[in-house]
Amino acid sequence: MTDQDMSKYPLRLADDKVPMVRFMNVTKRYGDLVVLDSLDLDVDEGEMVTVIGPSGSGKTTVLRMLMTLETINGGVIYVDGEPLTHMEKGGRLVPADRRHIRRMRANIGMCFQHFNLFPHMTALENCMEAPVHVLGLPKAEARDRSIELLGMVGLEDKVDQHPARLSGGQQQRVAIARALAMRPKVMLFDEVTSALDPEVIGEVTNVIRKLVDQHNLTMLMVTHQMGFAKEISDRVCFFYDGKIEEQGPPSEIFGSPQKERTQQFLSAVLEAG
């Protein structure tokens, strides 16, 4: 990328009204395959944005880029006004180094489809691991914080269990507590109910509902559960072919979608149940 290109991106976002997350002209390619094409997306502080769309539409990639699990091929991502993927050097933006990424990553937490709990640690140890070793909290404080969060997700009686002894729904709730223990400003939920048996999905969605009601977290969620998306989101983005085809409040997207592709997608998934 040339300097010319970078000059149109601000070093940090202006102070008047800063979105918590801003994707600015972000492009992601795997070889010749364009996964995301010049994406522009803002998420405000405290907003719950749901990303829906057919598989391969790039929706999971949006979250993974924000978590810095994927690099980007063009554009800039800002978090809380500061560039995430880039940093300032000599008055211009250059690709972020490891230190900058680690500092910025502290703002973001993520929950995965397959939970990814650490199998060699108990639920409590899973939650305490990063607060102690990354944030440097005293063990007692990390323990209190973790136990409180495990209580919040309804697992106070499972703190000393290893993941192998927990059901999928319980594991996912531990994973949510683990991410929250880092006190992120932005939480990402990547198809967190897709690997769960239908009867335990409610355990997890109830926790997310609680987060929306009681905390001022900024959240981005990829899901296939249209009912849940409709109920809980402030805004729904429909992705198609690496672009946002249509976005708006859930009542509009689900009630009266304007674009033909949105209508097709929604009728297909609703029919499938």
Binding site: I108, G109, F112, P119, H133, H162, A179, M182
Partner: protein, 222 residues
Amino acid sequence: MMSYSAFLTEYGPRFLDGATVTAIQTVLAAILAIVIALVAGLMRLSANVVPRWVATTYIEIFRGTSLLVQLYWIFFVLPLFGITLEKFTAGFVAVGMNLGAYGAELVRGAILSVPRGQWEAAIALNMTGAQRMRRIILPQAMVIMLPPWGNLLIELLKGTALVSLIAVADLMFEAKQINGTTFLSAQAFGTALIIYYAMARFVITPAMRGLERRMRRRLSRA
């Protein structure tokens, strides 16, 4: 002809001395092999080409030639480069370096077989590269690589028999000496074979099984 029990009474202590030296050689070579395997295995996975290249070269050289060639080279040729190792040291160093190269591939394979999601979760929790490796990946990789390490340690035990060729007085060496004075080859070499077998089957294998069980329990994969 001497009865086998008379043979054992006469030469038992020498077999025992030899077996002790073999055990010490095995332990020292194993420690060296484990250290080398960890370092070289991690270097093979480095993002930087220099350590990767160094480790690959090391592994290819030691796996591409024979332990016996390496032992002779270390003992007879290395002194010409100003590095003289006493025979006992040269013995376990050669064995440890050779098996360490094989172990490095086990370490690398085990690390790579830890699911991707574990790396990603550790990144999402903002752990440093070193923390990810030490606290999340290695404990899981350890359980994966223990069974093949059991086999490798038996290979290592067998490998130590070669140090007799540079006159380290191990079990193999004693067997050869006893054969040379008594010409009771079946008794001399047979007894040594049985002792080696017992060390592999009744010491190394159960020890590794026990370690595996303990590790697995700690991982709590019921």
